[in-house]
Amino acid sequence: MEPAESLFEDSPRVAEADRLTLDIDGWEGPLDLLLTLARSQKVDLARISILALVEQYLAFIADAKKLKLEIAADYLVMAAWLAYLKSCLLLPKDPEQDPSPEELALRLQLRLQRLSAMREAGARLIGRDRIGRDVFLRGAPEGLRTIRRAAWQADLYDLIAAYGAVRARTEPAVHIVARRPVMTLEEALLRVERLLGARLDWTTLESFLPETQDGEYRRSALASSFVATLELARKGRLELDQKAPFAPLYIRAA
């Protein structure tokens, strides 16, 4: 638990009725209380008797209990630890004990020295000539202003590339559809009729197609020729025969 610590000392915070309980809250924790007790011994912290200090602390806590004051948990934790330290310091030395009671006492002493040093440092710091209290800055400085000016940058390539992009974007678009090689239905009809006259027996449809390396043209010719044979079959000009689905298609003049 944390002792009450207000950031700024404004109004007197000790109301008359609360004075008894606040006797403990006047310290910022057990270490602060220990330091105050140590200071009351009026000896150098480096030479203080930790045993005497421990006894003072325990007596203080005992008194507070007698007065039925509420004592914060951390003060009681410290009291228990100090009671333990006291007994260790008084009992015959146990060489096995680690850390030794003397070291524990020394640590406590070092902590008090450090807190005390910082408390004094703080007081000296706060007592220095401070801006706004002891020394003052110019009341109405004109202020230094930096005016940022953009140095615009672009190079010739940016310029002509941009112009190219504008022209390309706004040029009327001309669409040219590329010519693909096809055999029209009319062409196929003429071709199949003509070839049909020259053949007597069943012939595959593929044998009617023109010799070509162009795959696209060949596919176009196959499709057109097939439609042409169907048309000629409908007119009774030829017969079609196919043994099975996807089997070769045979044609013969009727």
């Binding site: 230094l144 590339a161 112009y163 040029e171």
Partner: protein, 195 residues
């Protein structure tokens, strides 16, 4: 210099720390009624004459101020390199190729409206200037490039700009590339991007 006495030092400090100009009476109240404020002020005016800061009186009130010849110290200009937006570069290119052009001409060629700021930026950069009004209805203002424009882009004259045929040869008019570029930049097209 002669060490100022306590009265002078007090008046000096009071004037320095004050948030606004002070009258001699204000000063007397601050530094104590026994002090000869006018004498202290006269001494300070003297001490600060010729320095970077002077003590001056305005309408019976005294204050320190920067020496008039050093006013430029209070305002420092700093140049920060910034790239032109695409809208600005395109507008500049159109002006360079077609000058003199009106705003409407530029918009017709670009196919996109231009914001007020775009032309401002180009004029701020010193590359574009107003080039008179065109004698047609509405008398639109036209724009042209400046010598600074030629200098910045390393051109002897506008005739050094590559022509349409050169651009075509360089692939800068390639429709497919332009189409791809446009697809990627459609969102940037709104003129919000310039300035």
């Amino acid at each position: 210099m002669i060490e100022p006495d306590d009265a002078v030092r007090a008046v000096e400090a009071a004037l320095f720390a004050a948030a606004e100009p002070l009258t001699a009476a204000d000063l007397a109240e601050h530094v104590g009624l026994g002090v000869d404020v006018p004498a202290a002020l006269a001494r300070l005016v003297d001490d600060y004459a010729g320095r970077g800061v002077n003590l001056v009186e305005r309408g019976g009130r005294w204050h320190f101020q920067t020496a008039p010849d050093l006013a430029h110290i209070l305002r420092r200009e700093r140049e920060e390199p910034r790239r032109l937006s695409r809208a600005a570069v395109e507008t500049l290119a159109i002006i360079a190729y077609h000058e003199p052009v009106s705003r409407a001409d530029i918009e017709a060629i670009r196919g996109v409206q231009i914001s007020r700021g775009t032309l401002d930026v180009l004029m701020e950069a010193g590359w574009v200037r107003p080039a008179g009004r065109r004698e047609v209805p509405g008398r639109p203002l036209t724009y042209a490039t400046t010598p600074a424009f030629l200098a910045h882009f390393g051109l002897e004259s506008r005739r050094d700009l590559p022509g349409i045929e050169d651009l075509k040869a360089a692939g800068l008019l390639d429709p497919i590339e332009a189409a791809l570029a446009d697809m990627g930049q459609l969102e940037l097209e709104s003129d919000g991007e310039d300035a």
